[in-house]
């Protein structure tokens, strides 16, 4: 399944704050989002900001048991986990993702900490009819980005800041434009600290194809109505 362009995705951590609320949240978010990103709860969410970290620590279930509680596929769904937890189990993660109806598994630490696993990761995705997806930052080496493009990923995800939910005074418009030049026509998704329609407009206007919202959703997850309203308000930033 391709990601709709321009689009907005919602991030939720699986079984946070509990299994039922999570299932309600993804049902509701599927109605108002173009795609979902579902976090695989871990004890070591090292690139996440304080808000998302709490969701990992407080989720009812941990690891693949947590993402396994739902059937995905109404909209494209990408699992997000830390490869450090699955460094010797990439095939298993891909199998679980595939059986649950996900389109890919995104590992934000793959390129930073386990570049040697890149080929193995791509093979695991393909072996289970999934597409690879890659997480990069604004200063990821240009040649590496060129290599990623050649794998024809479902998308490349650009982390706009250093951690989820923490906004820094960076020229994100320039950063997106520069990265856009490197990723060619591959779908470019941007995320981290996006919480207003104005930011959605700026990020899409700079060249991203879609955005992901996570931290700003956390305190609305228990209330499906508030969740949906918020996502709809962000959609106002789409062209």
């Amino acid at each position: 399944m391709e990601i709709r362009k321009p689009g907005i995705g919602a991030y939720v951590t699986a079984t946070y704050p509990n299994k039922n609320d999570f299932l309600n949240a993804i049902r509701c978010l599927s109605e108002v989002s173009d795609f979902l990103e579902v976090g695989i709860p871990t004890n070591n969410p090292k690139y996440d900001g304080p808000v998302i970290r709490k969701t990992h620590f407080a989720s009812e279930l941990k690891g693949l048991d947590a993402v396994n509680v739902a059937k995905y596929g109404k909209v494209p769904t990408i699992l997000m986990g830390y490869v450090e937890d699955y460094v010797n189990n990439l095939e298993l993660v891909a199998k679980v993702a595939s059986e649950a109806g996900a389109s890919s598994v995104l590992f934000p630490d793959l390129l930073f900490e386990h570049l040697d696993k890149l080929e193995e990761y791509v093979m695991a995705m393909r072996n289970h009819s999934l597409r690879p997806t890659f997480f990069i930052s604004s200063n990821t080496p240009h040649r590496l980005v060129n290599v990623l493009v050649r794998y024809e990923p479902l998308f490349i995800y650009l982390g706009l800041y250093a951690a989820t939910g923490i906004k820094l005074p960076l020229y994100i418009e320039r950063n997106i434009k520069e990265v856009r030049k490197l990723v060619d026509n591959i779908t470019l998704i941007a995320g981290f600290a996006i919480n207003t329609p104005e930011m959605v407009k700026l990020v899409i206007g700079a060249g991203a194809d879609a955005v992901v919202v996570g931290t700003a959703l956390v305190d609305k997850l228990a209330n499906p109505m508030a969740c949906a309203e918020f996502m709809l308000s962000l959609r106002g930033g789409l062209p």
């Binding site: 090292k46 690139y47 900001g49 304080p50 970290r53 630490d109 390129l111 930073f112 900490e113 570049l115 990069i136 930052s137 604004s138 200063n139 990821t140 080496p141 240009h142 040649r143 590496l144 982390g159 800041y161 250093a162 951690a163 923490i166 820094l168 005074p169 960076l170 020229y171 320039r174 950063n175 520069e178 990265v179």
Partner: protein, 413 residues
Amino acid sequence: MNVPHYWYNINVDLLRPLPPPIDPYEADSRIALLMRILPSELLDQEFTPLRYVPIPEEIRELYERMGRPTPFKRAYGLERVLGNGVRIYYKFEGALPAGSHKLNTAIPQVYYAIKDNAKEVVTETGAGQWGLAVSLAAALLGVKATVFMTRNSYLNKTQRVLFMRTYGADVYPSPSELTKYGREAIKARPDHPGSLGLAITEAIDFTLMGEGRKYIPGSVLGFVVLHQTVIGQEVLQQMPEEPDLVIGCVGGGSNFSGFSFPMIGARLRNEGFEKTRFLAVESKAAPKLTSGRYTYDFPDTGGLLPMVKMLTLGHDYVPPPTHAAGLRYHGAAPSLSMLVKEGVVEARAYGQEEVMEAARLFARTEGIIPAPESAHAIKAAIDEARRMPKGSVIFFNLSGHGLLDVDAYGNTR
């Protein structure tokens, strides 16, 4: 030759992406804290996707007024004494008025702090080179400077303290009574010699204690390395031939990186320097490149900054006092650490006596008294020249003069 128009950002040419900074799990976000203490433009430069970052015209003019481009000289006297036909060149950053390369980043950092309406810049210093550069940059640009200087250096480098005060800075020995961390350190150990890590913590804490203050760091962070590449960018224009070996000393890594990264970058892009070896030289007092672990660690002792992945001896490491106080730091810049880890840059550690002996030989053959820190590069250049074949070419960075370090020459053989 003109002052370069661009700094060079090696991050976009590395073999692997730099792991992002991270927060510890058990406390408030250090990454969020950066916004309160650092000038915003510097944070942007830390994460820029640009390979070449334009140097603002005001900064270029100040670089020029202060003596850039610095000389790139051939060490004929030293070559003659070694007598084996190896050609040795050095970049002389001690030609700048603060006596070291540190002004290259002090000027832009103070400039960007003022753009954020800062009235005061706060920093730490080891031997005093960085503190002196910040004091001068602050004087040139018209803001106040406050410097926390490691106590051992404060007591021994009295002339540098005097120079900083002459430029108008407030200078305090660290640990000091001004901050919580300083008071705790003194209580635990009344004769504490200080460490750069602790001085950083004090400078950050002091920044947070007052309005209109910005903290500016002397090494390790990406934007410091970025600014220092003005050295290597000049070398690319000045060098008469490609080197077989490029050498620089390492405290946090800024002068080595600033000197060598434009050349290493060219190599990584397959644009020259294929035969060149790159050698980083550190002090045995703080041997993170040769003995450290490649792991996430705090750049400062108190753990106020986000953790970065680097070669480190641990943020609570207290090195023994040495005359090369600028090299007494527990970690190395993440980009340099990665290049060492990847084998692109070699590393070596030297002891104090052998380094000071090399410094004397250089003084007698070239007429320049080198800073004890820079003399580590000289020692490596001499050792390597003795074993390289005739016709080989060495470049090294003479990152500072030692005219304010003469006590080191008096206190060693």
